[in-house]
Amino acid sequence: INPDIASERQTASFSVEKLMAWLDGSAEHTRIRRAVVEAIECDPVFSRENQYFQSQNERYEEAVKKAVHLQKKMQEMGWTENGPEYKYIYRALAGDVAFLLHRVFMRSISMLGSDKQVAKWIPLATQYQLIGSYAQTELGHGTYLQGLETTAVFDITTQEFILNTPKISAMKWWPGDMGRSATHTVAFAQLYIHGKCYGVHPFIVQIRSLQDHSLCPGITAGDIGPKMSFEHADNGFLMLQNVRIPRENMLSKFCEVQPDGTYVRWGSQKINYFTMTSVRISLISDEVITPVMKACTIAIRYSVVRRQSKLKPGEQEAKILDYQTQQEKLLPQLAAAYAFHLISNYLQELFDRGYREIQRKNFDMLPELHAFSSGFKAIITQYCTSAVEICLRACGGHGYSLLSGLPSLYTKILASCIYEGENTILLLQTARFLIKCFMAASAGQPVPPSVTYLAAVKPGK
């Protein structure tokens, strides 16, 4: 051990193990998490040793190999998707694994599908008898769902929906696993019945043959090419030309098209946002807070090893972490990592509560949940992306080498400001909720607990 870093550990004012247990939730959680890490890291298939030296194709191939191997590993270890180990697997794999959108595919069916649809599709997906993707964003349209141009027209004679991406701007673009892997996708499209538009709805569409993986008739799909990061993921494009799917393939937990073409809805249109709300909250901890914790770990450990010029003449060169300016760069980022770890727990609890209410068909919490998840996804990804950049720059030239790990962390976390809703748009969705609450509070009406402080403001006009 380098004595410069060893000495830092002798003067700790607290027990690292106890703090770890507090972060994990308990010593038992720490034990489980470590066991998962141990099992994964001693398996050579999951090694990331050569990651910085591989091409995009090699990264994709490795990611698929790991994802397939992970299924065997989970069976071997007795890990299940509902077990305590599951949330640690992804952290241990550092996100370098394929089929992430397959998880979102399953989540959207679980949340928006009827019991019958869940019973049909989820076992197939769980056993990887199909690979799913989640196609919402289009070449010309992103977070604004109502602007999507993909269409699904109900054909009452054949009891089918006919899906099209009528213009190039309607082409689905970005969905992960779409480019080279997925056999099915949940695709969001504007529903038309008898010429009337009923807004955006999710449909399950088969895109590749289960026999030879060739594209199905009317489907054009492929990889969108090189990106700033996510080399391991086959982000793809999808064009639909008169693709017919059975009526039963429209996810219908909260709404349905009946055989005679009648449209029935129970619950708010906003329920389509629910998958995204859930994804936003879950990605905060895996995709954003873990990377910023890593960046802080790398930069702070390096800053007690790196010595550069002198604080006191005649003495040894000082550790760069002894300089106030270096402390001022790094320590606020460390504080933020802890702050956002805690708010992530808070958001998860809020979400779980909201989800229980929604399952009871009580949608009252939906607006607050949507506003909260949007706003926090935006502020946390923005703050953390800046934090990782500060950590990289605080490590000087070595921080710029891929071998530091920081450029990969940075290029990957930057995407989180954009995907699952571009941050500015999300902040404005939160602002819309705040303004509504402020108006309501000014009129003496009740508002959700998180915004009661607005009631204390005496409106100027």
Partner: protein, 192 residues
């Protein structure tokens, strides 16, 4: 803001109130601007578009406030070792004061925090740095990333940074695979 000296700004009640006040001010002033515009005849969607920069800022202030509040409340609930509560309190203070220090303008805007008080914020903020610096490495050790998970030559647990940088560089294909550049371009150039 009732703070009288720099130590007052280490009280969560003081800085939480500053965040709450600022968030409420940004929401209400933006709402008032929206109302002004619509009452003066501007269409609602145009009025909204003319306020979006301030609206986004109000939303950020709201989320920042809730994050500080949640952090402070979590620290109070810590029941494990006293040392942990103490260091977490320092981190919470640092996070809050860093937010005020680096967004001074919105806190000074209506005089809720005065210039003198902002000096106190700066002093407390900078005082915290060397305190937390002592525990910086144990605080990141607690994240418990293995070297393999970090995959970083700079961040390894044992601190053998320079050895590891050199070792990994030697594994790079740019060192292990012969490049045709020498035969094709360099050699002819050098033997011209």
């Amino acid at each position: 803001c009732p703070a009288k000296n720099k130590l007052d700004f280490l009280s969560p009640d003081i800085y939480m109130e500053a965040y709450r006040h600022t968030a409420a001010r940004l929401v209400s002033s933006t709402a008032a601007k929206l109302q002004d515009l619509t009452q003066s005849g501007v269409k609602k969607h145009d009025a909204w578009n003319q306020c979006t920069v301030q609206l986004a800022r109000a939303a950020k202030a709201h989320c920042h406030y809730i994050t500080v509040k949640n952090f402070a409340e979590a620290v109070v609930k810590i029941e494990t070792q006293a040392g942990i509560q103490k260091i977490m309190k320092h981190l919470c203070d640092l996070f809050a004061l860093h937010g005020i220090f680096s967004n001074a303008g919105i806190f000074l805007h209506d005089g809720y925090i005065s210039g003198t008080q902002m000096d106190m914020v700066t002093a407390s903020y900078l005082d915290l740095l060397p305190v937390i610096r002592k525990d910086a490495v144990p605080l990141v050790d607690a994240f418990d990333f293995t070297d393999k998970s970090l995959n970083s030559a700079l961040g390894s647990y044992d601190g053998q940074v320079y050895q590891r940088l050199y070792e990994w560089a030697q594994k790079s294909p740019t060192n292990t695979q012969m490049s045709p550049a020498y035969e094709r371009y360099l050699k002819p150039l050098l033997h011209k």
